[in-house]
Amino acid sequence: MESEYSKDAEMERLLEDLRTSNIRKEDWEFHDNHKPTYSTGIGINRKVVEEISDIKNEPDWMRRFRLKSLEIFLAKPVPTWGPDLSGIDWENTNYYTRPDEINANKWEDVPDEIKDTFTKLGVPEMEQKYLAGSVAQYDSEGVYHNLKKVWEDKGVVFMDLDSAIREHPDLVKDYFCRAVPATDNKFAALNGAVWSGGSFLYVPKGVHIDMPLQTYFRMNGEATGQFEHTIVVADEGSKVHYIEGCTAPKYDRNSLHSAIVEIYVKKNAQARYTSVQNWSKSVYNMPTKRAWVDENAKMEWVGGSLGSKVTMLYPSSYLRGPYASAHNLNVSLAGPGTVKDTGAKALHLAPYTSSKIVAKSISIEDGKAIYRGLLRMNKGAIHSKSHVQCDALLINDKSQSFTYPHDEIYEPTATFGHEATVGRIGTDELTYLRSRGLSEDEASSMIVLGFLDDVMKEIPMEFAVEMNRLIKLEMGKLGAVG
Amino acid sequence: MPELAIRELSASVENKQILKGVNLTVRGGEIHALMGPNGAGKSTLGNVLIGHPNYQITGGTIELNGTDLTHKTPEERARAGLFLAFQSPVAVVGVKLSTFLRTAYRQVHPEDKVSLQQFYDRMKVHMRRVGLDESFMSRSVNDGFSGGERKRFEILQMVMLRPKIVILDEIDSGLDVDALKLVADEISEYYNDEVGFLIITHYQRILKNIAPQFVHILIDGKVAMDGNRDLSLRIEEEGYDWIKNA
């Protein structure tokens, strides 16, 4: 039978190959057979990129940058070390949605599941439409104008990146893709080629902005969120808290997302970046987020990853000056059928730097939560310290958790520790709460929220409230828990 | 007769000035008590005297029998005859009590060619006296010890290593009444004309068991008042405020 698999035949064939040709063995290795699926014409190509640049009426340097990024994107293979990305539909992805098409999301087209969740969460209809992508802007102009005046007087620049390139080209050029160059990874290169939307925030020396700045307040932005590029610069001695995203599910027809966030925390400055994402469950979410942290500066990443089909996100801090510090707090919720491959990176490049990473994950049904991290102490990063703590909660018997930290220590005076635990909701705790009259669902959500407590208290109130509701909702859907 | 002379000693930790010119002399046969409110610098003084690397000496001198110890390493100070019983001794996992003490003894008293067996026998006698079971010999230094056990072990080290000047930093904390008596007895037993004591304490508890001839009050990094036992009694009744206000 011809179709029957024969080991001997396979062996013979392989041996024949070896004898007769100079094929390098990489060519027939089974793990590395990816070929770019698009070359010209479909999905993304030079023409598409040039068109984006034309529409935006960009300066020449940006156009050249986009084209260079495109080359890098096409040359880089899809990473195979993480989750399965074979489901990304490169060809049928819209790489750029023209602003006038944004409203094309008809409210009627939004899946009932999403609408249902909105209703359960009690989101007002106007906001629902914004979140569903059927309205481009969220009307917050009134609030925005007053605040804008106060900030502008202090020299704060806060606008969408497209406008910033036009209005403050030199300032933008100083920071654009310095922390995340297009060569960094395939998805960063993709963003470089087709980026659109995102914020530019510059806080001058010594200016403290006490109120968190939210994307809600950004005007004229393109609300695609698909290939955003955000830059936050906290100049020397300044202080800022930037918040992005929303906990309510956000519907998007496009299945591939790849944002870039670059944060520059200058000497003695403090920056906190909070993001919560809840994309619909068709989305591959592949952002690259990175901070450069200078002398005695402080960077805090607070993140909640709730939605999407697959998320790969590792906010990184490059601790470049003495006494620089980074703190990551992250919560991932891997719902049914989804994969959260999240983590953090901290690179200690200077003496007396410190980092602390706390990651919590919850897996529901067959959800898969992965922690992946890199911690490096370079030679010369004397007396630097780092601690990494990962805790995973598996709700159901098929839930999965994976932990892959990677620690490289080249400095003998540095101190490093990593700890990870995986567990489930304890029967004892559950029984105790139920014996006090709580239903099983209530008791379970209470325990889950307790598990998340140290992250929850760092998240802005309105986010925490919504996240609570969302987790209860997800748990409620499951019925019996355990 | 040994003499520890502390002159105009100033020291800082993490660039914060804690000691601001301390003067104190402890001779053989003398028992001194150093008292003071929290944060006065009492424990800092102990750590500075034994040479803790986190503390920087910014001025003054420490001399033992005329030898300048100000910039010496901790082991050089120990070999010169200085001993500090720590307030919270650190655990050293995997290093056995017996190995530790034998190694220390050999380096402090190289002249004593005591055999291993003799040394361990001697150790066992003293362990009984301070109330540590023989089984502790093969345990790791301070690892999993209760607060009281740590203090007993500090006293054991003192009698084994035979220092000339002994500094006891809050030796009574973590000890119950019986243990306190046991420790105090061991200290009294060890006390003679060739040994001087500096007892650092916040409360007066230990001083009921070991009577000091001299009492010094440390406030804000300086010796604010010297006196005798009556001073410590007054402190017990009135606290420290009256000295600050004086």
Binding site: S399, Q400, Y404, F416, H418, A420 | G94, Q107
Partner: protein, 415 residues
């Protein structure tokens, strides 16, 4: 490597040919970097294809005349020559070399070895190219203490495969010591497979102290049936490059796997020490504790996965790595992993890398102990507390000897 298939067909065309061929196919299919879920493609111990060729073709140098075996060794192995004491053979234990075993104990070979393949690339290659090895069969209900002393010339290169089959209810304590004679930079690979029948208990004491020019590649696998227990004490001290991979295959319910590992990398040694559990058995447990000490310009990486499969409910897995990094030029990495696929389990891992604790050193110094001695004591305590659990005086002595021999005076965190 191109000519290897011919070698396979001619020289290695013995009764294990089918097994060897499958292993070679598996090798061809394996990715070059085969450690599970690696986020960074980086080999910490670089072993080139040229090295591997040297290993598979083999090159046995004559060992020097003055071979000194441990007098109390029950099994003495020099190159592929296996000598077992009469006492041992009288107890019904089968001891022979692997080549003899595949013809004389064909049934055992087919029952235990043939169905079990490796997981890693080089392991597959060794399974294909082994020239010989040690075969031990321990009958049911045996109570045994066996000491094995392996010697080979440092210039020799070879791939060996050893199999130790422990019958039902047997209890065995094995001490397995690897050393070198002569000098040279051989590439020496070995797969050591244990097959534990139900209720068997094995204590395995492993010491690798070869010449510091040799490359040592070792894969240890434990196929554990239900209620079996495996305790593994390993020390890696010798060789210039060490790739040591230890991974259980706990298919049996309630199987227990314990590892206490210690390694010392000094001078320019490079060590990749992997200890993992793979648990499919219900109620299985794994507890792994490894310690490493890095001096000179050497490097140590500790890796270890706890892999709890979907069906392994009521199981637990723990991994703990600690590395002391004592020199400016040295480096230390750790890469523990948890792969938990059902929620009715308990698992945890931890890793730390640091210099000796400054407070501990200070405490010892305040009692008159000099800096070097203090560091030596703390280091010895750090590794000793792990290996002492073996209750093997020879091993305890060795560990303290190694710790003291480090000559830690080049650099310390303070002063």
């Amino acid at each position: 490597m191109e000519n290897y298939p011919e070698t396979l067909k001619t020289i290695l065309n013995d009764e294990a040919y089918g097994y060897r061929r499958d292993a070679f196919l598996a090798f061809l299919k394996s990715p070059v970097r085969d450690y599970k879920e690696s986020p960074t493609v980086k080999d910490y111990v670089e072993i080139s294809d040229k090295d591997l060729e040297k290993m598979i073709y083999g090159e046995i140098s004559d060992t020097s005349a003055d071979i000194i075996f441990d007098q109390d060794a029950d099994i003495k192995i020099i190159n592929d020559e296996v000598t077992a004491s009469d006492q041992l053979l009288q107890k019904g234990v089968i001891v022979c070399d692997m080549i003899t075993a595949i013809s004389r104990h064909k049934l055992l070979f087919e029952k235990y070895i043939v169905p079990r393949h490796g997981t890693e690339r080089i392991e597959h290659l060794i399974n294909s190219s082994w020239r010989n090895g040690l075969f031990i069969y321990i009958p049911e209900n045996s109570r045994l203490k066996i000491k094995i002393h392996n010697l080979s010339d440092a210039a020799s290169s070879f791939a060996y495969k050893s199999a130790i089959i422990c019958g039902k209810d047997s209890q065995v304590e094995l001490t397995d010591i690897y050393g070198s004679t002569g000098s040279g930079n051989g590439i020496q690979g070995k797969n050591v497979y244990f097959f534990l029948d139900e209720y068997s208990k094995v204590k395995y004491h492993y010491l690798q102290d070869k010449m510091d020019t040799v490359t040592d590649i070792t894969f240890v696998r434990q196929y554990q049936d239900r209620f079996s227990e495996f305790s593994f004490f390993h020390i890696n001290h010798g060789s210039s490059r060490v790739l040591f991979s230890n991974e259980s295959r706990q298919f049996g319910a309630s199987s227990d796997f314990r590892v206490y590992g210690v390694n010392f990398s000094t001078n320019s040694q490079k060590m990749d020490i992997r200890d993992s559990s793979f648990q499919e058995g219900v109620g299985s447990s794994a507890d792994i504790q490894v310690r490493g000490v890095v001096t000179g310009s050497s490097s140590t990486i500790h890796r270890g996965n706890i892999d709890l499969e979907e069906i392994a409910i009521k199981s637990s897995g723990f991994y703990d790595s600690k590395i002391l990094l004592l020199s400016r030029e040295g480096y230390a990495n750790s890469k523990p992993g948890l792969m938990i696929k059902n929620n009715d389990t308990r698992s945890k891992h931890g890793s730390s890398i640091s210099n000796v604790d400054e407070e501990q050193i200070f405490y010892l110094r305040s009692r008159g102990i000099d800096l070097n001695t203090a560091t030596g004591l703390v280091t010895a305590g750090f590794v000793g507390s792990i290996i002492e659990k073996a209750n093997n005086q020879e091993f305890t002595r060795k560990v303290y000897e190694y710790a003291e021999g480090l000559g830690i005076n080049a650099f310390l965190g303070t002063n």
